[in-house]
Amino acid sequence: MPDIIDKNVVQDVERLGTNPGDPLPMLDGHVSHGRFERVLKDGHFAVTTEIAPPDSADPDEVLARASLFDGYVDAINATDGSGAHCHMSSLAVCAILTRVGYSPILQISCRDRNRIAIQGDTLGAAALGVCNALCLSGDGVGAGDHPEAKPVFDFDSISLTRTLRILRDESRFLSGRKIDLAPKLFIGSSINPFVPPVENRVNQLAKKIEAGAEYIQSQYCFDLPVLKDFMARAVDMGLTENCYILPGVGVLPSARTAKWMRDNVPGVHIPDSVIKRMKQADKPLREGRKICIELMQQIKEIPGVSGVHVMAYRQEKWVGDVVKKSGVLDGRTPWSPNSAETTIGTVN
């Protein structure tokens, strides 16, 4: 028996390294050293969430916010000046998270940096142990607290995606200059199937995949029929064969906030029926979580879907609760720094 245990330990050390922040060995057919890619490629239903970077230079605050998700998520998106508001940078949040072994997803928006800065940051992120990147266009500066800022938008999300693929796969900068060690990132992008032109959103998805997106996270889904239609078309077009799709879900706190989000947050579509349900509920907070749980369960059944992305701004403490109650993890416990019982990396 001790032999077997030793063997497992050796295997785990081989797979994990001795320090949780060390990169994992890259598996055959994988593009990154990361755990998030492993979970998806092992065929598990993945759960990702979003961390709100603090308005602070305190690293402990980042770790405290991340620990809320321990044992319930496979990767954590670090937003990049979301809503065009200034916060701790995505790169720094990711670097803090990788030190203790988390799988952060570096969000890269095109709003604030040009191609020189973005390529440099990408190398830096990989050097700091980041294994995942998410390419976004970014919200307009007018949406944030510095509307007087200069919008950059040197790239759009598709040019950005292609650029990251060039850095990684061709080991060169856009200029052609060689990169000695390529950034081994698992590269994704986002999609919003719920806003016009709804009938062309699947074409947009196709372009993102052609540009090199290996996974996709979507904007909030509160409208299941639209998502089902979108996914059916994506499956028909063969788009889910080489790309993992993780629709976004959200936790609404009240009918008022839901309405406010719909009117003020770009790209958020919430049907009247959902707002009505929130309004009529005796306990709106609980109802918001219930809606989220139901959506997660229903989304899991849609062909072509590989996971969900839970966005719970200011409701982060409920992420674990909704994930648990939804049962979408099928009893799997994602890795976390402190839990001895977690199934490391992926379940075998």
Partner: protein
Amino acid sequence: MYSLRRWSVRHARFMEALYNTVNPAILVTLRGITKVFGTKLDKPITAAEAGLKGLLFDCQMCGSCALSKTGMSCPMNCPKTIRNGPCGGVRPNGMCEVKPDMKCVWVDAWDGASRMKNSDAIKSIEFAVDHRDKGRSTWLKLAREGETVNDKEATNA
């Protein structure tokens, strides 16, 4: 002009046909002109292109014209200058996230493309523009590119 540019998108099929017939003629003429005058007439030619395309498409003279691949809707009018759009922020009524009074240029682009003969051109990826070309004439660029191609063909022959 906003109203004319919306018209151009709604008549993308016609504009495409017009473009396909007029463009070769323009290029041939420009090739002749540049052969004789070199770069001497670049300024008025660029101004003519800016004037005409400005009127019809609110062209921003990015120097890498993509109109035939964007349903005749100039992507440089997108406040985020997205070349493969739209972004995820389009309003439910199809208006732009950043400028609520403007129709999203990419909602227009997909609509325009669907009216065009080559409605699949919009599906190919346009890489980010070369900012050095801003303010330069796409017509002259194409005319000169054509020249080098022709010259090469001539030498090869």
